[in-house]
Symmetry: C2
Subunit: 401 residues, 2 copies
């Protein structure tokens, strides 16, 4: 075993001669913050020699295709650890934690992760949670029971608060778990934490309901599905809200408006919806440049009202609340809320908790509306609120906790 340049607390060596395969595949392990190294220089040389052979035949040359399920390997029973996703089951067996490195293309010009990237990672960890549960059917997060009833998940509300954006190359841990939301809904929460210090960088909470894939109407939760998912529910909240603040509906007197926005093919996700991230972009593109440069997005609330199809033409409206003075902050009424194509959904699904907290004078807030430009009338896609605070430099000296 060769020695390496940094301390190796514990060493395991192994190599596999994979039957029919071209390569020895060595694996490594992380233990005690140190590394179990499974690679010796001899291994490296032998691997290198093999890899340096004439070009490896490509799929096309062999004309082989492997079945989707063989390629995906979706677990059919609960898994506690996934080494490839760097995920593990936590919270006494019902929560999920994934270790993630912030990638170079997930950060903006200032080297910090964008809200878009964070929301992508929230989606990814949510799906990997279902993946690990053994409940995942072939759909986009749908369980076997949901597939049977032709149901898909739709998000009705999402709130993300970011205290600190991770930077390029930083390692974070994302925890996610689910709970009940009224009779027919599910809450999903997240915490994003610095892997190095354990400090919380961001928190998220969201509410999900089921929609029939054919009729595109919301559905009650079938008992069969409840039996699948309710054992995973816990009563833990990433964000403490006493009641929801109401987001008023903007009209064409809004200060900023971008019109004639068209979804592109590349904006559709596996459910053939316009992706969340596109909504977020449309919202943020109405924010003035000087704000984007000097401020950082500290929280975002998205309330989804209806689907947006690939042929819709969209308008993004935005209205600032000057000087951080709160406006339109009425409690949501405890009545029926019209959501998605006129389907009425008990507000209990949406009920949760409190105001976003108090605001400094320097805090900026914007109310947002995305709507489909209709001939007779416009149809709401989403209401939103963004809160912004002054950017802080990340390069001041380390201070101990």
């Amino acid at each position: 075993m060769a020695s390496f340049s940094c301390p190796v607390p514990y060493v395991v060596r192994c190599s596999i001669a994979k039957e029919g395969g071209d390569f020895n595949r060595q694996r490594y392990a992380k233990v005690n913050g140190g590394i179990i190294r499974s690679i010796s220089e001899a291994d490296l040389l032998s691997r290198s020699a093999k890899a340096s052979r004439a070009l490896i035949p490509s799929v096309a040359e062999n004309g082989f295709v492997v079945k989707e399920d063989v390629r995906q390997k979706i677990p059919t029973k609960k898994q506690l650890v996934d080494p490839y996703r760097q995920g593990l089951i936590i919270e006494g067996g019902v929560g999920y934690r994934q270790t993630v490195v912030i990638r170079s293309y997930e950060v903006g010009p200032d080297k910090t992760a964008t809200m878009e990237s964070l929301m992508n990672l929230l989606q990814e960890t949510a799906l990997n949670h279902v993946w690990m549960s053994g409940l995942l059917s072939n759909g986009f997060g749908a369980t076997h029971g949901m597939m049977k009833h032709n149901l898909i998940w739709v998000v009705s509300r999402m709130l993300v608060e970011v205290d600190h954006y991770p930077i390029w190359g930083e390692i974070v841990e994302i925890d996610t778990w689910v709970g009940a939301s009224g009779k027919n809904g599910m809450r999903r929460d997240w915490l994003i934490r610095s892997q190095a210090t354990g400090h919380v960088y961001a928190r998220g909470t969201s509410t999900w309901v089921m929609m029939n894939q054919q009729t595109r109407r919301l559905s009650k939760m079938p008992e069969e599905v409840r039996a699948e998912i309710s054992p995973w529910f816990i009563e833990k909240h990433a964000i403490k809200e006493d009641a929801y603040e109401k987001i008023s509906k903007l009209d064409d007197k809004a200060k900023y408006m971008n019109s004639d926005l068209k979804p592109k093919r590349s904006d559709l996700d596996m459910n053939h919806h316009v992706n969340n991230v596109k909504y977020l972009r449309w919202m943020l593109e109405t924010i003035p440049d000087h704000v984007l440069e000097s401020q950082q997005l500290s929280s975002i609330i998205l309330e989804y009202r209806r689907e947006c199809g690939s042929s819709d033409i969209v308008q993004s409206l935005c209205e600032p609340e000057e000087n951080g003075i709160l406006r339109d902050v009425d409690m949501i009424e405890d009545s029926e809320i019209s959501l998605l194509n006129g389907f009425s959904l008990a507000s209990e699904i949406l009920k949760g908790g409190g105001l976003l907290g108090s605001f400094d004078n320097g805090t900026l807030r914007y109310t947002h509306l995305l709507q489909i430009e209709g001939e007779a009338k416009n149809e709401e896609i989403m209401r939103g609120r963004t809160t912004w605070k002054k950017k802080v430099t990340t390069t001041i000296p380390f201070s101990t906790q």
Copy 2:
């Protein structure tokens, strides 16, 4: 040690009480294709109890900020393995391999990874290669020597061939390595391989030169930089090209044209360039919908001519080559090539090898041009070529290699 639902060939257990930390951090290991599990149910319960405590203080509440270098932990010497990036050094110590799971937001409506996502992963693995080398300075892939001379990398040409797009949840291995390209350039190649079968899904090659960050002019490679990077060069090619095919310059007679395209803030990368992926989107948005639906992008060539700033207005032109008949396929002349702001670059940097191969009648090819709409004249940003072939279903039965 609790028993788990799937075979555990080898078990290591360990836990860390991290000094001053909130959590025990358990690590796991992959060995011989099996899994070294480091988590027992007792561990899980104890972890869960800790995680379920009252909410963990956030960064803002503590007012602490950690220095960038502490958060990034860029290695100052060569690393052979990175467990978080799932990366390791191969090719006798000079190449890099990273294992990657295709994420839910990296795939399109058909569940296969998009070309955009693949190009993002190529960028990511290239940077992680430099990261592991110990040469990375604080810039976007620049070495210490480059920083000293105020140099950044710019890509002058990129070719990606995809035989098979990985699907959501599929595990791939991406190999990357570098070689010399003429006197002042560097070639970087990639292979994307199925982790399960070892078959090659995609190949890439690219040519890079150095640019002065202030003057925005191309630079020779300083000897100090050559000394840093040349020990990493190898003579291995992911794609065999005998000579480059020339991409003709389109004019306003091109069949498809999208005008008035404006880069958004979110399109800028850490170098404050408009990101590659944005160029790709602008190119692909000119391709007719029926092609995007029935065909898959099997190869793409990008030839970069000049930078695009955030205030430029861009035009994307596209011209089909009907019936796959090759046009404009002249060998590139062995003369000086004008590149980026009039800087002349010896064509030897760009020289490499041959035609893309022969084409079936069903293959579609498009020539692309991105240019800045100027008052006096338009300035070329990029020429490109895309090749498309009929989509194949991924669900036909597994056939052995």
